[in-house]
Symmetry: C2
Subunit: 257 residues, 2 copies
């Protein structure tokens, strides 16, 4: 297919590279700032423009930009009946309704950094479309780069994004909290890595609900009290400890009902 990429950030870059590699022609990169856009266009042998009026003809236009500028960019797009899709996990496809009669979502559920290439094969790609033909085309396109493609609806996609915040952003923050606790004691974060890797390995075969261990899961109030005392100086960490401990205890109770 002939693809145009709108945006030149992490997602735009990784998608453009994966699509190019899968044999698609990247017709053009459209980006409002010159430098990043030109670099990406050069990398994938596409033309470049910073002006929506100069958009070339393509089969699919992928809008891979920050959530808060999708609507603004969509206003400038006049694509008639060419398929346009954005890559956001939280925004409605309806943001693109003024840009074309065929619009949808092409959402890769993966953390992306510009300088570390993503192997798209296992990346879940969630697609939606304004009509059957659109979703079928986006699904077919997705399948050329990923073996993990799902048709979803707007409600599901929103919840997936929330779930990803819990499973990815929030867990990472807890690692960060852990690291700061250890550094405060002159100890390296490495000391916890075997424990972390083991837990993730266990996740391959088991539901996390079954794998829950620790003071809260045991109802070990003595240890919980000791930990809260130790954290006494740090209200922020104490609050996190309390809320998550309460939630683990509440979940355990639900599971035994």
């Amino acid at each position: 297919m002939k693809i145009s990429i709108i945006g030149a950030g992490n997602v735009a870059t990784n998608l453009a590279l994966a699509l190019k590699k899968a044999g698609h022609e990247i017709v053009q990169v459209y980006n409002r700032s010159d430098d990043a856009g030109k670099e990406l266009a050069h990398t994938v042998a596409a033309s470049f423009t910073s002006n929506a009026a100069d958009l070339l003809d393509a089969d699919v236009y992928l809008v891979a930009v920050k959530d808060d500028v999708i609507a603004e960019i969509a206003e400038h797009l006049k694509l008639a009946d060419k398929i346009v899709a954005h890559t956001s996990g939280t925004n409605s496809k309806d943001l693109l309704a003024t840009a074309s009669s065929a619009y949808g979502i092409f959402y890769p559920l993966q953390t992306m950094k510009k300088n570390s290439k993503v192997d798209f094969k296992s990346v879940p790609l969630l697609v939606e479309g304004s009509d059957d033909a659109t979703v079928a085309t986006l699904e077919a396109l997705a399948k050329t780069i990923s073996q993990n493609v799902h048709r979803v609806d707007e409600e599901q996609r929103k919840w997936i994004h929330v779930a990803a915040v819990f499973a990815n952003n929030f867990t990472n923050h807890l690692y960060s909290v852990s690291e700061s606790i250890l550094l405060g004691q002159g100890l390296p974060f490495d000391i916890l890595k075997p424990l972390i890797y083991r837990s993730i390995e266990n996740l391959q075969q088991n539901s996390p609900a079954e794998l829950q261990t620790g003071p809260a899961a045991r109802g070990d109030m003595q240890t919980i009290e000791k930990h809260l005392m130790l954290l006494g100086d740090d209200i922020r960490l104490q609050k996190i400890y309390e809320i998550l401990t309460q939630s683990i205890i509440a979940s355990a109770t639900q599971n035994h009902k």
Copy 2:
């Protein structure tokens, strides 16, 4: 060395197996309930007793029992100057001061299940001792099964345990929350696994503080509001979302100071 194992749970079982494999003689398993104790004794070719008065002579006695029964068991131990150590992450070695003049800690920082064998080589083993000779012996013993042995003090060990609760128990609970959100939408937890594995891979080379992404890290209040609205029905998850979001925002502010 000649080792006696006190307890027959997950940690006792895994330690006994690892020590036996490293060439130590497991003299005896002492456990108050017969069945588990006899089974472990049989597995590691040790004798068994459920009576502290019948303890045989050994170089090191490892007390691998639940935190809340260490003190009670210690009362029954009269080991003169033989080394005794417990495997708890939170309790003081002083709990063992009445049992022997040589006491300490032998704490494996790893989640253990009875039926899945732990490869101890990479498991961090944290040791403490009531005197130099004791800690030296426990350290030497630890090094026969692990390449990741650390002498710590009581304060450090307590903080390591708290850090492990954040990095292991709490993260697992967040996976669990994620899973329940997805199941509520008829979607499998598997859809998030590529994201989770990728994040953990990134952790090998980077500090988690550097890897923080997501709405809170971006200060994307619009998405945060949407997520909180979506979670509206579930006060428990909303609370977790709020606290962790606030904490990520507070950390980002600190880092930029």
